[in-house]
Amino acid sequence: MNKIKLIIAREYLTRVRKKSFIVMTILGPILMAAMIVVPVFLATMDDSSQRKIAVIDETGLFFEKFKNDDQHIFHQITKDINTAKLEHSTTDDYALLYIPQKSVSLPTQAMLYSDKQPNLNLKSYIERVMSKEIEEQKLLIQIDRLNLSDANKEIALNIPESIKTSITLSTIKLGEGDEETKTYAEISMVVGIFTGLMIYFFIFIFGAQIMRGVIEEKTSRIIEVIVSSVKPFQIMMGKILGIALVGLTQLVLWVVLTSSIIGIAKFAFDTDIKTPQSELMSTNQMVPANATTTTMDVSSSTKIWEVVNSINFGMIILTFTFYFLGGYLLYAALFAAIGAAVDNETDTQQFMLPITIPLILSIVMAQFVIQNPDGAVAVWMSIIPLTSPIIMMVRIPFGVPYEELALSMGLLILGFLGTTWLAARIYRIGILMYGKKPTYKEIWKWVKYKG
């Protein structure tokens, strides 16, 4: 319908041209990029204080190779690893490096224990030293073999390929009671909570915009002119869809701007401080399939990437877009109905309550859902349309069965159709009613009016 397009265009253009929209669109990515870039930056920042690192080297191959410098002093201890871990907090050591002995092959694994997230430079230094040492060891073996088989050319050609080695340095934070909590799983929690919160804020911010828009049209009385040209339902849907486009525009701009800022920052860091990260990554790629590589804990950003890859990025984007829009549409119509029912914003409080309760409940429950993403409460809340947009997003990174997802999505669509129908019936009467604030009973009567 042509007229609904006109309304969408007006709602969209007037909002996108606003100063507040432009400011938010620029500030948002800067803040978000800062949240990601600053910790990485801090981790790579040179620290002037010297740090002592205790080394338990069961192989006896590596300790000699660690050179003390301005920042790091390595000293060897000869305790059992478990006692060393227990005693770590009583010493003034910054970290504890443990290189276990391997009976058959050369060691390719080491553990770096620390109270805090260890410095990125330290980690890459240790990895570099160890890789180099192992490569040397392997080369020696190859050369020995060459000598034995009288300069076999074929083996000689294979040398560079076969000696490439990657070091797995797991960083483990020493928690209270000596619990080894890996930071690894937390990232999927962060993804879940973050996407859930995005939907929560989007519904509130843009829902409130719809409500204010409706109240503005009502109090300025322009609505009477408009309803003489367009059906109330078209006005309401035009407004809802126009504002949805504003939200999508903002989201897309945020994603594009944030990732380009991070990209630029990454590039700047890489050239700036020559972290051996890129070298190590390329080493890793050349490792033959049978090599014993598990996790490559190089830096927090690559770690995030790994986790993101492991939790199905495409799935998250698809479901996020669906619940982002579905949740918005479900609530948007209700916000429009509230705007139509009242004369000014102060009267909205009472009617806002039924809308805010499920949303706030979702956010409050999200932290419990994350502990137990497949519990009964989590499953039910991710299926009921009023709470599903947030709770389902919290559950998605942990994996959700397809039939639950389908049921939840189907119900959300039904819920959206239901609230829109209900809201449209309130809206068409409400926009022409002035005077005292209606009661719930009166609003119910509006719903039942025919015509």
């Binding site: 007229k3 300025s220 009385r221 322009i222 408009i226 003489s228 040209s229 022409l432 009567k445």
Partner: protein, 311 residues
Amino acid sequence: MELFVAENITKTFTNHTALNNLSIKVPEKSIFGLLGPNGAGKTTLIRIINQITAPDSGKLFLNGEKLSPKHIANIGYLPEERGLYKKMKVGEQSVYLAQLKGLERKEAIKRLKYWFEKFEIGSWWDRKVEELSKGMQQKIQFIVTIVHEPKLLIFDEPFSGFDPINVNLLRDEILKLRDKGATIIFSTHNMASVEELCDHIALINNSQKILDGEVKEVKSRFKTNTFEISYSGFDKDVKQLFNGQFELVGVTKFDESSTAKIKINQGTQNDLLNHLLPHLQIHSFNEIIPSMNDIFIQRVAEANQSKNEQS
């Protein structure tokens, strides 16, 4: 021929009846006054004509066709309570509203520019509405109402908020629109402008039509056969001149002459003149034609009284 016809319209809200079996006929190319006290049901009727609300029962016709959404482009409506988007630019907003009425964008801009020049507000095109005075906003609203050249125009209190100069400007434009072939429904409480502009009227009270017809005809219907004479040359009380046939309604004395209102209960005005000529020096002799204001008040009072008696 009638441009707009409403037949037996009834509209009930939860607690009261807004319109009760109401019928009106609006002749083509005329100005039709829709009158009535506050809360009589005028706004409800106007909203029904605009298809903002639907009647519970009854039929509506525009130009002989059953009223349907396709007629929106043929109707222009200037509501009593009016407003514009405050933050939007005047030109952009006018184009938007004209497009909603079905005009093409280019055509809308062309016509709006013409009207803006005519109303001497062309320089306001790129200003925001909130920067304009109330009178300016009213002008824009008027332009937006008529820009799509509808067959039927509905003006609800169009003159409120205008200064006398702009009232004249607007009145002239309304008359021009009628002369060009538009039919106008004009709702107001200002009876002077009804007398000035309207060709036909309908008076609504308490959800019912209590009076309608051509203005001239309505006025003559309410004539009470009362005449006003101004006279001199009679020093005694004029009362003694009248008996049952002629009734003295009132008398006002001036220095030079006096005026008296006399109602004829029997006979003609010539009989009255014959009766008075021997006694008085008559300067003028006029029939008293009731004003719309008097008719309005009288009819509404009568209707309310009969309603009270019924209940």
